[in-house]
Symmetry: C2
Subunit: 238 residues, 2 copies
């Protein structure tokens, strides 16, 4: 079996600026040994075209190409797990700007009933600080998957995710957003997020369809396949 | 003089879905006589190619093509006037999704010192509800341009605009955002927004350059020219 191209769905933050001398490097991360690691370079040693992107951008691309995001322009994938991240696909490609999006760090209004300071070391009570798996565990002193469906945690969780979706909708107007990640597997949560999003948009802005991943756990891996295809097509090898 | 194409920079909300039977119509608006007005259709009667977009998307395109947004990918233009609106240029075109962006309606955290309920009839204390010209006038009982530079209003205003910019940055990662509109002409406000944005991003996410319009009051009109050029190039007339 011949390797024709490599697609890398990697943890961020990554330098994705093609003009940068550190393109394809991990930038700042608390993971020991990983700051400034040349990930793309290591794989380019194989001698085939390599495309690297963040794990969440890759999952977004996977869902857009083969999952629940087909036909959506633009398309957004949000993962709610240990942290919160989001990737956008615009004109068929993951959106890059000054780096990649950091949708977990949207500033959202705190719920009046919530006294939790927030779990983000940078922003305290940003979306990730209030609604990540780590935030849930810290606020309630229990693993999210052990909290029963009628627990107050889920009302608050749905409300916070809805406020993040309002910001994404106001900025990008995506017709579809897929919500993945471990926390979204909580029974009934997706439906509660839909209801809270409708309430928060208040009928002024048309809201996106909010969907579960079509590819389940395979969005990231299939996204990496799509990145490898992109690596080939960019070099005219198709 | 021959008219070769028409570019329309129109007040929104507009139906910009090319596949819709009401493409180019004003949709819902409180302006008497304007709901469901076929604006693009009226101009198509001239018999030349017509492109229509919102006034803020056109201003964004103008600044991107000939103003302070040149070379920025993606590029965002935000206008802070009677209301607040924002347009994004991605791959050289105004971003459209499910309608157009409504960046004024991002949900932001209220400042603890601010007791004002918010001026948005739909969301109360969204970005526009807290930081538009109407919000300023209502909260302080005075026209924004009469409030002195050291008035508390401007600290709050800079903080709220920074929180909107944080959301835009987290979602789109634009290297440059141009801030236009009448409220932004307040002396020192742009610099205060830069400082508050740096504080709110807290060093985690790289912030965009925040710039005054390069085209001054002409961004919208020049954007309409760019839309007319786009109308021609789309029909291969270039």
């Amino acid at each position: 079996m011949r390797v024709a191209a490599i697609g890398l769905a990697w943890f961020g933050p990554l330098d994705l600026d093609r003009g940068s001398p550190t393109y394809g490097f991990v930038t700042t991360t608390p993971k020991p040994g990983w700051p400034r690691a040349d990930v793309a370079g290591a794989f380019e040693a194989v001698g085939v075209p390599v495309t690297i992107d963040t794990d969440v951008n890759a999952a977004a691309l996977g869902e857009y190409r083969w999952g629940a995001g087909r036909g959506a322009e633009p398309f957004v994938y949000v993962t709610v797990g240990t942290g919160i991240g989001g990737g956008a696909i615009i004109h068929g490609r993951p959106l890059h700007g000054l780096g990649h999006p950091e949708m977990g760090h949207i500033a959202i209004p705190r719920d009046p009933a919530d006294a939790f300071a927030g779990a983000c070391p940078y922003h305290g009570a940003c979306l990730e600080g209030l609604a990540s798996g780590v935030a849930l565990r810290t606020r309630w002193g229990a693993a999210p998957e052990t909290l029963p469906a009628q627990h107050e945690a889920w009302r608050l969780q749905a409300r916070y995710l809805a406020l993040g979706i309002v910001a994404i909708t106001a900025v990008l107007a995506p017709p579809k957003i897929v919500l993945g990640g471990g926390v979204m597997r909580a029974p009934g949560l997706l439906e509660r997020v839909r209801i809270e999003t409708d309430a928060a948009l208040a009928g002024y802005v048309r809201g996106p369809e909010l969907l579960a991943p079509g590819l389940g756990e395979r969005a990231g891996v299939l996204g990496a396949v799509a990145l490898a295809q992109q690596a080939l097509s960019e070099r005219g090898v198709q």
